[in-house]
Subunit: 690 residues, 2 copies
């Protein structure tokens, strides 16, 4: 068996991670290396265009000489103390060890370090002032205090070069390790320094005003209630028994095949990528030999809380930039997270010492049946032809403290593609006086308030629709003007409507408008559809969502620039993967997608003879879609919320010359083997149900 | 076995249909009865409130004396000719035969009569002037002409008391009975009278202008192309073989039980209704003993075309009012239209002679797995708890000439409910000159234009949220004002936001606005949630769609009043089931939801001492949601379009005291029996694939 050479888009192998760490230690022998990131530095797109054009051209064998070098991005503390003065980002040639690029990340902080968080928790709990504060609360006997550390969302009250962690306090009243401590938020919060020192102790506000007091109140016993706050099966008194088993059988196995990270399924071709930050990424997505997307990824997500009170204004999480969708990916379990025949992909991350660490089963790949794909009955003959929709799912699930996100790409046989986010897990809770109400949160249990918050996702779509240079067309449907005698308009009955299209000329942010059926089409103006004679394209089917609510002058808004518009279009740049900027931990704003555009515009104004940098027509472009939910919790979201789904679509629009799923075989009982429930069998079946 | 007494909400049985016809013939011995409709007249809601309150109260046994009488609504021609002067609607007591109510439907036309349509087609084809027109087109040898009859959408050019049918012409070039004639639209259209006489012959416009000519052009041979226009398996040269079998096994049978039309599933309780017009309806929908909805139904759908040219302004279908979702329901086939264990419900309709006719397998009931319901992993212990979402589906599919709609209600274990419409089938086509383009349609094949059109659905939600009297609350999320020194606002960091709610006071139409996260909640102000202390409720999760594009002065807009707003609220009235009015065939407008409201408002202005009729707070209300799609066809929608999904949700919002799905048992491999695809098995599995 030949040794498999990594594809240029494959994540770093464990061997490559180790090798890179070795190179870094050799390159910087003077200071101890404490690694935070060792991940693939994807090749420059210019190089990849050549490589992929070669790979997909029938007569060309990809020459190894043209294979882009394997490079790693490394984030590392070099020397002590592990502060931002010693924090570096390196680009390392994995094979040769050459340090290709080196940047001191002064004033920056890496993503969350679970080890540090644990140390911070321990230091916090063992601090005598904190212990005194806990004592003052006069907690019920047997209460075990739990700390929930939160990264510090900039509020301008601290020096940002100092890393800060906010420790929120909860308690457990039963000893089970999975008892739900979020049901018992306490009136205590401790601000901790990066080197695990107690900076400040807060007694939290419990009503509408910012009533932080310096004195603790005794714990209100009316907040203690029954076991309905629990979710763990050991603690749920009774599960419903009415749900009967449901198995998916695939007697001939799955319809997909894989070769390393390459998946082929029903005319689709795509490569699975994975990194500590974005988690699952997709590359070189093609259908039936046609190039569609160079890269699809969740670029960032932002979860700002709407509770205006101090210190809650510091609750605003960049779950990708600060926490990492990759390093928080669940180990997906066979039979639990999906049904049928399931293929798993592992991810790899690095320990602080530079050793590879497996993120097992981080991505799963399986098929589902999605009901009817298309159907027509000829009413003259009564003959029906119906096909079922088989869908390929690539799914990853992350846990970020209390909350979970399920991210999934769905591939359709009709060349459509959907990206779905399901939000679940436990809503973040804070204490509230029994009987009080606040206008920025919901009381979900006695003394437990779930503050309003938003989830803002940014899907990065790097298109390659029938080639590398694409344009974005904004199309709307408008009523034709009424016909009048002087007009050339022919609309005598007032019922005509037409579409109006505009091709976006410059980098910008755009908004949704369902009232005019505004549609965003990514097109290739150089490739005409032979039937329509217009450009081939894919349209974005957006998720209608409220944008960021925080005031434009607030840090929340400044730090999450992508939240200001639903759709953005930019020119492609290798460095622009993250819509809120490369470094989000305690960021000050002004580094996201709006700033990139603004900087290029300003530069053009200076260089008045050059206005090419912001042109986006027939260029290598990136389209970004901001969507999400304004999540004002319901009681029904407690104690674990049922999935809230958000879906974005990408669908061919005059890309093919007909419905690409016309060749899907009709659905038949012979093939599908369904079972008729008639009144007799049903009675029998139900004979033994409760 | 005791004879089962029909529940008051059960559709008429075949026996009841026969019996009703007999009563009508006996009651009107003088004129031959030609039946169009014999359907259940649902009991007055006032009666049903008493009945259902009794049925669901634990200590009361429903007294037969309080059982509402079985009544039938009958539409019938009494005597000759079968014109609107002889057209009646009767209300008949099924048992006693008493004619409870009688209305002459002067100026009205019943829904489409398939027999009439066939006669019209035949008369049209055998007319010598039509034959001459066909001959003039010089069609290719072997061409078989097919007629597609369309109901006449009012354009003001005809006397509406006369029934009119527009016959559009197509041809088939191969003899297969299911060859796709929509691929060959011809330049011919014939206007036919209700008594099957040719009124007018049109040669259709072929470009942007209204270039109707009185002379035919010979058929352009460039419009004849290959077999890629076909969908029937006999005519598709090759089906993909890559899709492997996928079976759903339910070893213990389904989780639902049925008793007649009553379905019980996972704490849900609901009754299936069915009639010729609305098709599937749901009644007395409850969860865990709580009343939620009295009735859920698709009230109407309107499909106006945007092609302004004569005679296309006459293309605008009321697929419920004119055609009937019930009488056009597909006979659903085991293993084709769904997987797993499937229970079917038959519908019953009446023939013109009053005999019952079965609409077999009109509704199917089955379960699907919908991925993850909720999940949480405790990051401290690594323990994950995950539940899968089992969903009950009630589905019906209708064929309206070229097009199909799949209507499905999805019930969730978390007490959420979704209504999904999938649009599929063949887009309506018209001829176009080869090489021409129009701004109100898409060329989907040489000489074949698919005009732009809209699908506007109106979901009727008759709530009974924890009781009969409900209110509608409109809630929005707004940023708090920035804090200033003189203000009492506490928002020092500019990040706070709150919800603002307004309870709708008067009957009206409302619109969606995702930019302020506008949410519509149906609440019961008299029932407080013990946790939040606010009213219990269900929220509408709307489908964001463009509203009707036709000019307000047009017949299209006047006839489809519900298309003017996305959400409507009215007081309940027994007679107000259909948002565009009871009689839509060739209607003139002014009879829909906006007119009901306006009439009540006007009446109140007259009776200035009585303003109670339009108040909707704490009343028996109905909420209507208009949604759909502006369907500007893609080439990919041809020859049969892949399903376009539209989804509306109804979700509890502070109705329960916690997530009602917390008792769903965790998902385990032992129970679900998934199969791991590892590299070895995959290689083996794929050994025999092509």
């Amino acid at each position: 068996m030949a040794i498999q050479v990594a594809h240029p888009l494959d994540p770093l192998t464990p061997q490559e991670i180790s090798q890179t760490a070795k190179h870094v230690r050799a390159g910087f022998p003077d200071g101890e290396a404490y690694f935070r990131v060792i991940t693939l530095a994807e090749p420059a797109k210019a190089e990849m265009m050549t490589f992929l054009d070669g790979e997909h051209s029938k007569d060309a064998v990809s020459e190894p000489s043209k294979r882009p070098a394997r490079l790693a991005t490394v984030q590392v503390f070099l020397g002590q103390p592990r502060d931002s003065a010693h924090f570096y980002e390196l680009k390392v040639n994995v094979e040769s060890g050459e340090i290709v690029d080196q940047e001191q990340l002064l004033g920056r902080h890496p993503h969350v370090d679970a080890n540090d968080m644990q140390k911070t928790e321990q230091a916090c709990l063992s601090d005598s002032r904190v212990q005194a504060a806990i004592k003052e609360m006069q907690l019920p006997e047997g209460a075990v205090v739990k700390i929930e550390p939160w990264t510090y969302a900039t509020d301008g009250m601290n020096d940002m070069s100092q890393k800060i962690t906010m420790c929120y306090f909860y308690m457990k009243l039963i000893s089970h390790p999975d008892a739900n401590h979020y049901a018992y938020p306490l009136d205590l919060c401790v601000e901790m320094s990066g080197d695990a020192r107690v900076l400040k102790i807060y007694h939290l506000p419990n009503g509408t005003s910012n009533d932080i007091s310096m004195t603790a109140k005794p714990y209100d016993r009316r907040k203690i209630f029954d076991s309905s706050i629990e979710y763990h099966p050991d603690l749920v008194s009774q599960h419903r028994t009415s749900t009967k088993p449901y198995h998916v059988l695939q007697p001939d196995g799955p319809s997909f095949t894989t070769e390393g990270n390459l998946i082929r399924w029903e005319k689709w071709h795509l490569r699975v990528g994975f990194n500590y930050r974005e988690g699952l990424t997709l590359h070189d997505v093609r259908y039936d030999g046609h190039s569609l997307f160079y890269r699809l990824s969740l670029s960032e997500m932002f979860v700002p809380y709407g509770d205006p009170r101090m210190p809650y204004a510091r609750k605003a999480a960049f779950d990708l930039g600060n926490d990492g969708a990759g390093c928080n990916a669940n180990n997906l379990q066979l039979g639990c997270d999906c049904l049928g025949h399931i293929k798993y992909f592992d991810g790899w991350h690095a320990t602080s010492s530079g050793d590879p660490i497996k993120i097992a089963n981080a991505v799963c790949c399986h098929e589902i049946d999605d009901g009817i794909l298309w159907k027509h009955t000829n009413f003259r003959t009564g003959n029906a032809v119906v096909t079922r929709s088989r869908v390929l799912v690539l799914q990853t699930i992350i846990t970020v403290s209390n909350y979970e996100y399920i991210f999934a790409f769905y591939f359709g046989q009709d060349a459509s593609l959907h990206y779905e986010v399901r939000a679940t897990g436990i809503v973040s809770t804070v204490p509230i006086n029994v009987g009080d109400k606040v206008p920025f949160g919901t009381t979900v249990a006695p003394g437990v308030m779930a503050p309003y918050h938003q989830h803002l996702f940014c899907l990065r779509i790097d298109p390659a629709i029938a080639g590398w240079n694409n344009s974005l067309v904004v199309e709307e449907s408008h009523a034709m003007p009424l016909e009048d005698q002087d007009s050339s308009v022919h609309n005598p009955f007032g019922i005509g409507y037409t579409t109006r299209s505009e091709t976006v000329a410059e980098e910008c942010g755009l908004d949704l408008d369902h009232t005019v059926n505004r549609v965003f089409k990514i097109v290739n103006e150089d490739v005409a559809n032979p039937v329509t004679e217009g450009p081939v394209g894919y349209k974005l089917v957006p998720c209608y969502s409220q944008l960021v609510l925080a005031h434009p002058s607030s840090y929340h808004a400044k730090r999450s620039e992508f939240g200001a518009h639903a759709v953005w279009i930019t020119r492609y740049h290798d460095s622009e993967l993250f819509a809120a900027g490369r470094h989000t931990m305690q960021s000050l704003g002004g580094e996201g997608i709006a700033s990139w555009i603004k900087k290029r515009q300003q530069r053009q104004e200076v260089l008045s003879n050059d206005n090419s940098a912001t042109k986006v027509r027939k260029q290598d472009i990136v389209v970004w879609h901001t969507f999400g939910s304004t999540h004002n919790p319901r009681v029904e979201d407690w104690p674990v919320m049922p999935c809230e789904k958000m879906v974005v679509g990408l669908k061919p629009v005059n890309f093919f010359t007909k419905n690409p799923a016309m060749d899907v075989a009709p659905s038949t009982q012979e093939r599908n083997r369904s079972v008729l429930v008639d009144d007799a069998t049903e009675a029998g079946m139900n004979g033994h149900c409760s």
